[in-house]
Assembly symmetry: C2
Homo-oligomer: 166 residues x 2
């Protein structure tokens, strides 16, 4: 999952044509889940971004714990929309207990109710070269803001946090 | 921080020239910290990727809690290497208590020991359009693997996890 596994976007597009998500695949994007409703709502926003940018027909959010919808709820929704395969995509940076154990166990439990529907759990996100670009972009945006050349991003808007502390 | 704030990479490069990290900036990449040493070591790997890909001269890892080095340790190391400004970049997906309170508080504490050194804390990473591309790339790679056309990524190697469950 280090830099050697980075797939340039052109290759990604070509592979997608061969092995990508089909109309009969459902994608579940699952985060940990939070007691803060604000954080749970951000997953919905990410799912919307994901749908818009990829064009995949069936994409559902789920929280591993602490909040609804559960993985089971999302699995049911995918099947109701016609999915015959479910791709569970953890919105987690690193592999850890949740990725190794909890998400597979909850997904197996959800799948029991749907014989004939297969599923796969994808890798965590963190060690991808584009993650460097995201962090670099955040740094650049913050420095541009304090230099007076960019608005605060949505995370900081109204908090007054995006500033140089002397 | 939604899709409207996405900065195409060409713009990023241009802005970096104007407002980017200079030789006198130190970057601290801070994650939560884990009792699992394996997870802490992944941050070191990310820091290496970040150094290699950006070319920034001073980049240090730190864990917010549960593991060393601390934010204070990393801040000291940045100053020792000549930084007169420190950019604290949280390796977190969403803004939450750690981003709002804990990291700012720990950074303020660390900065107290270095009068004249300014700092800034950057935004969380999650709602960035490139994050969609990372997740899409993970999905594509997993599906290519189960189709027999790609190796397991590093997260799955040896675990036998990257497969279709029927």
């Amino acid at each position: 999952m280090g830099s050697s596994s980075y797939v340039p976007s052109q290759l990604t597009v070509n592979n997608l044509e061969k092995h990508g998500v089909s109309d009969r695949d459902g994608v579940i994007i699952v985060d940990h889940g939070s007691r803060r409703q604000e954080s749970n709502l951000m997953l919905n926003e990410f799912v919307k971004m994901f749908r818009d940018r990829t064009g995949y027909p069936i994409v559902e959010p789920a929280h591993m714990e602490l909040a609804e919808p559960s993985i089971k709820d999302a699995f049911n929704l995918c099947v109701q929309q016609g999915a015959n395969r479910v791709i569970v995509s953890p919105f987690f940076l690193f592999p850890g207990r949740h990725w190794y154990q909890d998400i597979p166990s909850l997904t197996a439990e959800a799948a029991k109710e749907h014989p004939g529907i297969s599923y796969i759990i994808t890798a965590p996100l963190g060690l991808h070269e584009l993650m460097v670009d995201i962090m670099n972009d955040r740094i650049n945006h913050c420095l541009s803001h304090v230099a007076g050349n960019a608005n605060e991003c949505e995370a900081c808007t109204g908090t007054g946090k995006c500033r140089i502390y002397d």
